[in-house]
Structures are given as structure tokens and as C-alpha cells.
């Protein structure tokens, strides 16, 4: 059931990334929704699930783009594993630690991805910092909102049910 949920979330993120993200003001570069889901999954389910989700999602992204298959997968699996491990070692239920994790994961992912391409001589990324920072901010904003929705939504539903029962 957990695997189905993770796969569905990744598929949804990928669909949104390829359809809606390109209409954002900064284009598709403004957000990496798939990375947001990988970080989310890693925080919720731990390093192994985060790593496997990152690997699968990254490789699908690689296959659907013009990159070398495996580089995105490697970067995202490392991020998924690291975030999952941090989530198990530290308390990250508050907003500030989560914000730091989303920012760190986004910057770390971009640096690994770009670093691998530059290291292997497969591409040049002149002055990437503004792009990395803006994407990290975008990912963090979406990630924080996603966490809030996932955590607040069940509480709201319960309250509504409870209020209906009390009226009867």
C-alpha cells in the first residue's frame, strides 16, 4: 500500500512537472516537483523508501529528458537516502527544520546533478547559482505547503465529522 502511494505521488508530480510547471513564470526550471515528492517520502518513510523513490523518479526524469540515464537517479537517490537518514536521527516535525531540509535537499541535489555533469564533461552550467537558489526556494515553498495540506487535511475532516455528530 505504501509503495502504491509513493508511486502514485511520483506519477502525479511527474505529470504536473511536464504539464503545468512550464507555464510558471520561470518555466519548468522554477520547480522540481519530483524532488519535492522524494524529500517528502524520505521524511515520511525513511531512508530506504526515500532512496528507492529517488532512484526510480530520477531515472524516469532522465529517460524523459535529454540527460544521461542514471545521473538524476543517482542524485535523487542520495538525496532521498540522506533526507531519510536525517529524518530518523533528528526531530523534523516543526516547520523550521523541514524548511531547512527542503532547502538543503534542493541545493544539494542541484550541486550533485550539475557536479556530475561537469565532472564527466557532459555539459557546462555557467553561473548556475541564481537558478539553483530560485528553484530551491520554489521547491521549499511547495514542500511546506504539501506537508501542511497532508497534515491538516485529516484533522479538518475529523473535526467536520465530529461537528456533524454533535449536531445530531
Amino acid at each position: 500500500m505504501k509503495a502504491v502511494g509513493v508511486l502514485a505521488a511520483l506519477a502525479l508530480a511527474l505529470a504536473l512537472q511536464t504539464t503545468l510547471a512550464r507555464f510558471l513564470p520561470g518555466g519548468a526550471a522554477a520547480l522540481d516537483l519530483v524532488l519535492v515528492v522524494v524529500v517528502f517520502v524520505a521524511l515520511k518513510h525513511g531512508p530506504v523508501t526515500g532512496m528507492l523513490a529517488g532512484s526510480a523518479a530520477g531515472m524516469i526524469q532522465d529517460a524523459l529528458s535529454i540527460g544521461v540515464i542514471g545521473i538524476g537517479g543517482l542524485a535523487k537517490s542520495i538525496v532521498g537516502f540522506a533526507v531519510g537518514a536525517i529524518g530518523q536521527q533528528f526531530i523534523v516535525a516543526a516547520a523550521l527544520p523541514r524548511l531547512v531540509i527542503f532547502l538543503g535537499a534542493s541545493v544539494g541535489h542541484a550541486m550533485m546533478f550539475i557536479g556530475l555533469y561537469v565532472l564527466l564533461g557532459l555539459g557546462s552550467f555557467p553561473s548556475p547559482w541564481s537558478g539553483i537558489l530560485s528553484q530551491a526556494l520554489g521547491n521549499t515553498a511547495v514542500g511546506m505547503v504539501a506537508f501542511s495540506i497532508v497534515e491538516v487535511f485529516p484533522v479538518l475532516v475529523d473535526r467536520r465529522r465530529l461537528s456533524r455528530r454533535t449536531r445530531r
Partner: protein, 288 residues
């Protein structure tokens, strides 16, 4: 009863295995400077060293035998081989001259058979899956005659090229992608250069310091890259920086709004271009 070990309890082993798997997968797709896949190079290199050792041992014995034991008729062979080599060198010179002549003639023939462009209309069905690359997916593929490196155009100008055609869809690399480049020339002054993507816009590079390029100029394809047909609009020069007489950063604002693309044209007839044809102005026209 002893239960089987649970691999899910070994995240570090799994992490290491997955990382090695990714590295092997990446290596399988990469080539070294010599054009050999990395994985093949490493594997081959390892085994080759062992073979080299064996070969050196065997070779030492053979050399000793050949140099000191089997020296018979060597002087006569040497004289005969020198004569043959002289004859072959003369023949090689003749063959090279004929090859040069053949290449020149084939270029002339290509120029004469240049035809107008044929295009296929395609709808944009998805944007890029990875934010690090600027790509689009269109709803036409090899079944519709699409092949890699076919130019993709919009009414406003050039969009990019087909990089990965499937049977019913194709991936298009946009001009603003960091790995994209197109040969361009300034329409007004005919100054030539290469427009390279930066992720959000384009930079015009390799422009000679003596050329005339100013902000507001229109950059069109020069056709020299053999992918994009000549004379189509790439963008407008947004700003020009000069440093000690040479051009610094020349920024190009793309003519196409990549965020609002819905339908594109894929040029299915390859641009045929002869050397020296790049300075004669737009010479192609699109037809559906």
C-alpha cells in the same frame, strides 16, 4: 528456526548497491575521449594489463628467437620491401588527389540539388520532465517521418531540434537548453557566430571583434551547423558588451515564447548546404 535476513534492515548496503548500480549505468552510456564506453574501457583496461604481461613474456621469447636465431634472408627482404614502399607512396599520392577531386564535385552536386523545405505539424503534449534541461515532447515520431536532429520551427522563429524520436512522439531540445547551440548570423551585418543556450536565454559566442553587432539586431540561422535551415529567426540581440575591442557577452532574447507553444513545425527535409553558402541570405522557405 532461523529467519531469513531482512534486507530492508540494511539501508547502507542497499545504498551502496544502488549507488554502484547507478555508476555502472552512467558508465555504460558514456564514452571516453577515445570514443570507447567507460565501462568497456575500465573492464578492457584491467584485462588488457594481464594480457600485456603475458604478451610481454611471450614476445620476449619470440624477439629473442627472431633477433638472434632466425636471422636468414633479412637483408634481401629489406631491399625488396623498401622498393615496394616507394611504389606504394606514389600510388597513395595519386589516390589522395582523386579523393580531393571527388569531394569537390560532390559538394557542387549537393548545392545544385538543394530543394525547398518539407515540414510536419506537431502538437506540444508535454514540457520537460527534468528542470535542468529545456525540452518539449511533441505528438509526432518516427512513424511520421521524424528523425534525430530535425529542426523544429514556430511561426515566430526557431524552437530547437528533435533529439529523441519515439514511434508516436518525440523529444525536442529547445534552443535555450544549456547544451543547445545553433549557428547564427546577424541579419543586418551578416556577422556570424554561435548562439548557445544558458537555460533561460541565449548568448552569441565566437563573434569576431571586428564584426558589427548592436542591440536590436535580429539573429537568424546561418545554416552552417547542418541542422537548422538558413535564414530563420533565432532572436533579437538584447545587449552587447565589449571588452578591449573584443566582444564580451552578447545576449539574445529568443524570438519564440517557449512557455506558450502549442503547435510546431518539424522540418523533415534535411537542409542541404554547400561550403561557402552561408553568406548569401535567406534561401529557404517552409511549406506545409
Amino acid at each position: 528456526m532461523k529467519s531469513a535476513p531482512d534486507v530492508w534492515q540494511w539501508p547502507w548496503y542497499l545504498f551502496a548497491a544502488l549507488t554502484v548500480g547507478h555508476v555502472l549505468l552512467i558508465s555504460a552510456q558514456l564514452n571516453t575521449d577515445r570514443g570507447v564506453p567507460v565501462i568497456e574501457d575500465v573492464t578492457f583496461g584491467t584485462f588488457a594489463e594481464a594480457q600485456r604481461g603475458i604478451s610481454a613474456a611471450v614476445g620476449g621469447v619470440r624477439t629473442w628467437w627472431g633477433d638472434y636465431v632466425a636471422l636468414q634472408m633479412v637483408r634481401d627482404d629489406n631491399i625488396r620491401l623498401r622498393r615496394e614502399l616507394s611504389q606504394l607512396q606514389v600510388t597513395l599520392q595519386q589516390e589522395r588527389a582523386m579523393a580531393r577531386q571527388s569531394r569537390t564535385l560532390s559538394r557542387l552536386l549537393e548545392l545544385r540539388t538543394q530543394v525547398p523545405l518539407a515540414t510536419v505539424a506537431a502538437a506540444v503534449i508535454a514540457g520537460g520532465a527534468s528542470p535542468e534541461f529545456r525540452t518539449l515532447t511533441i505528438d509526432k515520431g518516427t512513424a511520421d517521418g521524424l528523425r534525430p536532429n530535425m529542426a523544429v520551427l514556430a511561426p515566430a522563429g526557431v524552437i530547437g531540434r528533435v533529439v529523441s524520436p519515439g514511434s508516436r512522439a518525440a523529444l525536442v531540445q529547445l534552443l535555450i537548453d544549456r547544451n543547445a547551440a545553433v549557428g547564427v548570423m546577424v541579419e543586418r551585418s551578416r556577422a556570424q557566430g554561435v548562439a548557445e543556450g544558458t537555460g533561460t536565454e541565449m548568448r552569441l559566442n565566437y563573434v569576431s571583434g571586428g564584426d558589427d553587432v548592436v542591440a536590436g539586431d535580429v539573429a537568424v540561422t546561418s545554416g552552417i551547423d547542418g541542422i537548422y535551415p538558413k535564414g530563420f529567426v533565432v532572436g533579437q540581440i538584447e545587449s552587447v558588451e565589449r571588452e578591449a575591442g573584443a566582444f564580451g557577452a552578447i545576449r539574445i532574447q529568443p524570438a519564440v515564447d517557449f512557455l506558450s507553444l502549442e503547435v510546431v513545425l518539424v522540418v523533415t527535409s534535411p537542409p542541404r548546404l554547400a561550403v561557402g553558402d552561408v553568406a548569401s541570405g535567406p534561401g529557404t522557405q517552409a511549406q506545409e
